[in-house]
Symmetry: C2
Subunit: 462 residues, 2 copies
C-alpha cells in the first residue's frame, strides 16, 4: 500500500471519532455577533487549541480586542517542505428564528435527508465542519507517518461572521509568524455533490447600518398622522431608490472599477450546465432578480449588489399599534467586484442617504466591515496541483469558479503577507448556511478530509 | 351652599382617595393586543365592576369572544331624568420599548414635571384616568345626594387599543340594554391646559398588516445576492409608492368621499392661535409632513393619511448578518375622513400591493379593524349644554375642534343605537399616550371629575 493510500485508509477508519469531534465543536455556541456568547467563542478556541496540541501542534489561544484567535504550528517531514497557512473560522451565525429549526441547532446529529446522511446544526457547514476536514487530514497523516508532509501553520479566527474587526491588526502584529508560501482557505462550496470547486473570484463586502430619526419620541398616529415625518416612510424611499427599474444600483460612482466579464469566462460558466431555473428552483424562485439580462452565475459571481439584510421600525409585536416611530433602521450590504473601493461605496451610500432626508430627519450610520473583491489567477502551480488532487478524490474533475460571498482574509493574505490563497471547500448550496437547519453532508466531511490528505500529498511532491 | 357646590366640594375632599383608586387600576397590566395579558384585562374589568357596585351601580363583567366588557346601570334622581351612556376603555397600549421609561409603567406615582404635578404610568391618560373622572364624579354625587342627577349606563370595553373586534357584536346583542338618550365619551384631549375641548369630527381608521414573501427560506446574501428576490426591497418599494411627491396618497380612489374643509371652519381653527411651528416644536419637528400646502390642524383633523406603523424583516439583532430574508412585513394604517369607505380603502391597498409584486413574490394580508370617519353636528343642545358646563369649570371657554384619532364607537353609537355622542376629555397633547412615560396631569384628573359633575348637573336641568 502506498503511503498516500495508507493515510486515506486511516482517515476512513478514524471517521466515527472525527464525527464525534465535530459534534463536540458544534455544541459550543460560538455566535460571534452577540456579546452574550463571548464565553462560548473562547471555549471554541480553547477546544481547538487542545485538539491541535494532541496532534503535536504548538498551538495557543491568542488574545485580540475581540474574540481570540487560534494559532498553531507544525513542522513538516523535511525543513524545506512547502509551508501552508491554513485558515478557518470557529464562530457561527446567530440561530434566529429558532422556531424554524427542526432540532436544537447546538445539538448535532446525523439524519437522512433526500437519501443522504447529513450532519445537522449551526456551523456544521460554515465553518466548523470545513475547518475540521483539514485538522482530521493532519490527524490521519500523524497516525500513519508521525509527521505531516508539508509545514503547516493554522489560523482560526472567531469573528468571521461579524466583519473580522481584529483580523487585520492581528495579521499586522504577527506577520512574520504567519507568513507561509501560500494559504489554504476552507470556507467555500463544491460545484455540486460530485464536482469539487476551486474559487478564483470573490466578491468584496461593505456593511452599513443606517438609522433614520425624526420626532423626539414615538407619536400617536391619530394626533400626529399626516403632519409628522414618519422615519419608516423616509427609510422606505431611501431603500426603494437604491435600485433603478433595470436592477442597477443607483449610487453615484457605484460601477466605477466594475468590468464586464470576459466572454470566454462566461462561456466556461455556461458549460457548467446549471440553468438559472435550476439554481433558483432550489430556493423556491424562478426568475433572476437584480440586473436584467444577466445569468444567475454572472449576477452572483461577477456583479456587484446592494442588499438590505434587515429592517426594523415602529411596532412589530402581536396585534397593531397606531404609532409613528421616532426612528427606523436598516442593515444594508454591498457585494463588490473588480476594483470597486469599499470606502468610496460607503461614502456614496451615506451621501445618497443624506440627499434623501426631508426636513427634520437625520441619519446615523454604523459601519460593519469593508473589503474589496479578490480575483485570483485562474492558472497557477498551486491551483493546478490542488485541481489534480481534488479531481482524484471526487467522481468528477474539479472546476474553477467565481464566488458570490466575501472572504476578506484572502485579500488580507495577498496584501499584508504577499501570499496567494487556494480556496477549496466541500460545502453544498443546499447546506442552509446562515439559515435554520444548517447541515453538512457526511460525505462532504469524509471526502473533505480525504481531499486535504491528497492536496497535502500533491503539494509535498513539489 | 348650592347642591352643585357641595358636590364639587366633596370631589375636592375625595381627591386623595380618587388618586389612590386610579393608581390601583393603572397597576393592572391590561395590554389588550398581547394575549399574554388576557388575565390582566379581566382583572381590570373585575376591578371596575367592584368599584361601580360600591357606588350602587348594577354592574357586571360581560363575556365576549375577546376581552370582557363592563356594563353598569344606575337610576337617576327621577325616572324621567335624561339617560346617558358613558363609554371608556380599560385596556392600554403595549409598553415597549420599556428601556425608555423613567419608571415602571405599571407602578404609578405623582411627580413634578415642568411645574405641574403629573400622574405617571401606562393608561393614566389613555384611558384609565379619563374614565375614572366620570366614576369619581358619580361618587361625589352619591356621597352628597345618595343618587345621581341623571340616569347612567356605563360601558367599558377592553379592546379599544386592538381594534375593538367584540364591540359591534356586543352592541348588536345588547342594543336594548345599552340604548340611552345620548352617549358621553371620555377619550379625547383638552385644546390646551386652560381650554376644554369638545370634538366634533373624528377620523376613521383602517389597519392592515402585509407580509411579502419570496424564497422558501432565508438566504446567504453572498451566494444569492443579486439573483434572488429580496422581500425587503419589494416591501420598501411598495411603501415608498404609497405617497407621491406632494404627500398625497396614491391608492386608486383614495380621495373619493373626501371633501375640502369649509373656509369658515378653517378660519375658526386658525383663530385658535396655535401655529404649525408650535404644534411640531413640541415633538422636535418644524415642517409639516404629508400633503403640501395645508396647515397641521387641517392635516390632522380633516385630511386622510397612510402611515406605516411598523416594519420588520431580516436580521435586526446586534451586529450584522448578511442574509436575504424569506419575508418582510409592515403594519399600515389609514386615517379616514368624510365619506371614505374603509373596506374600499382596504381593497385598494391590497390591489396596489398585488400590482407591485415582482415575479416569485407573494403577499399575505391581515386586517386590523376598519371604521369610517365621523362628523358630529357643530351645534346641538347636548353640545351646547356641555360647552356651558365645561366653560364654567376651566379658566377659558370650551372650544369645538376636529380630532385626528379614531373612536370607532362613536360611529357605532350613531349607526347601531341612534345616539349622538358628546366627546369631552381632559388629556393633554403632551401626555405621551402610546409612548414611553405616559402621564396624566393631576389637574386633568381633578378638574375632569369636577367637569363631569357640572355636565351632569347641566344635563339634568333639561
Amino acid at each position: 500500500m502506498s503511503d498516500l493510500a495508507a493515510v486515506l485508509d486511516r482517515a476512513d477508519q478514524n471517521l466515527p471519532q472525527s464525527l464525534e469531534r465535530l459534534f463536540e465543536l458544534v455544541r459550543v455556541k460560538s455566535i460571534s455577533t452577540d456579546p452574550a456568547y463571548a464565553g462560548e467563542c473562547r471555549r471554541a478556541a480553547e477546544w481547538l487549541v487542545k485538539t491541535l496540541q494532541e496532534l503535536g501542534f504548538a498551538a495557543s489561544v491568542r488574545e485580540t480586542a475581540g474574540h481570540p484567535m487560534v494559532v498553531a504550528h507544525h513542522d513538516g517531514a523535511s525543513p524545506d517542505a512547502p509551508h501552508a497557512l491554513f485558515y478557518g473560522h470557529y464562530d457561527v451565525q446567530p440561530v434566529d428564528p429558532l422556531n424554524l429549526w427542526d432540532r436544537d441547532p447546538f445539538d448535532p446529529t446525523i439524519r437522512e435527508e433526500n437519501g443522504r446522511d447529513v450532519i445537522t446544526g449551526r456551523g456544521t457547514s460554515d465553518d466548523k465542519g470545513q475547518l475540521l476536514t483539514f485538522v482530521e487530514a493532519c490527524r490521519a497523516y500523524k497516525d500513519i507517518n508521525g509527521s505531516l508532509p508539508i509545514r503547516v501553520t493554522i489560523l482560526f479566527e472567531g469573528e468571521e461572521e461579524s466583519g473580522s474587526p481584529s483580523l487585520k491588526p492581528f495579521l499586522e502584529a504577527n506577520a512574520a509568524e504567519l507568513k507561509a508560501d501560500f494559504a489554504l482557505v476552507c470556507d467555500t462550496n463544491m460545484w455540486d455533490r460530485e464536482t469539487p470547486a476551486i474559487s478564483a473570484g470573490l466578491r468584496g463586502l461593505v456593511g452599513e447600518e443606517v438609522i433614520v430619526k425624526a420626532a423626539n419620541r414615538d407619536l400617536h398616529s391619530g394626533y400626529y398622522g399626516g403632519a409628522a415625518a414618519n422615519p419608516i416612510h423616509v427609510l422606505s424611499r431611501i431603500l426603494a431608490g437604491l435600485h433603478d427599474d433595470t436592477g442597477r444600483v443607483t449610487l453615484s460612482g457605484f460601477y466605477e472599477g466594475v468590468e464586464e466579464t470576459p466572454e470566454e469566462i462566461k462561456a466556461m460558466w455556461r458549460s457548467l450546465g446549471r440553468s438559472d431555473a435550476d439554481f433558483l428552483g432550489d430556493i423556491g424562485l424562478s426568475v433572476p432578480s437584480g440586473e436584467k439580462g444577466r445569468s444567475v452565475l454572472e449576477l452572483t459571481w461577477a456583479r456587484p449588489t446592494a442588499e438590505v439584510n434587515g429592517i426594523e421600525g415602529g411596532y412589530t409585536g402581536e396585534g397593531f399599534k397606531t404609532v409613528i416611530a421616532a426612528r427606523a433602521s436598516a442593515k444594508v450590504s454591498f457585494r463588490l467586484v473588480g476594483k470597486q473601493d469599499p470606502e468610496k461605496i460607503r461614502a456614496a451610500f451615506r451621501a445618497y442617504v443624506q440627499s434623501c432626508l426631508p426636513a427634520d430627519c437625520t441619519a446615523e450610520f454604523h459601519p460593519h466591515g469593508g473589503s474589496p473583491a479578490i480575483q485570483l489567477p485562474y492558472d497557477s502551480a498551486l491551483l493546478n496541483k490542488a485541481k489534480e488532487a481534488l479531481s482524484a478524490e471526487w467522481p468528477k474533475p474539479a472546476v474553477v469558479v467565481g464566488m458570490g460571498g466575501s472572504i476578506p482574509i484572502v485579500g488580507d493574505f495577498q496584501k499584508m503577507l504577499g501570499m496567494e490563497s487556494l480556496l477549496a471547500g466541500f460545502a453544498l448550496s443546499d447546506d442552509r448556511i446562515h439559515s435554520p437547519n444548517e447541515k453538512y453532508d457526511r460525505n462532504s466531511y469524509h471526502r473533505g478530509i480525504r481531499s486535504w490528505i491528497r492536496v497535502m500529498d500533491r503539494l509535498a511532491a513539489r
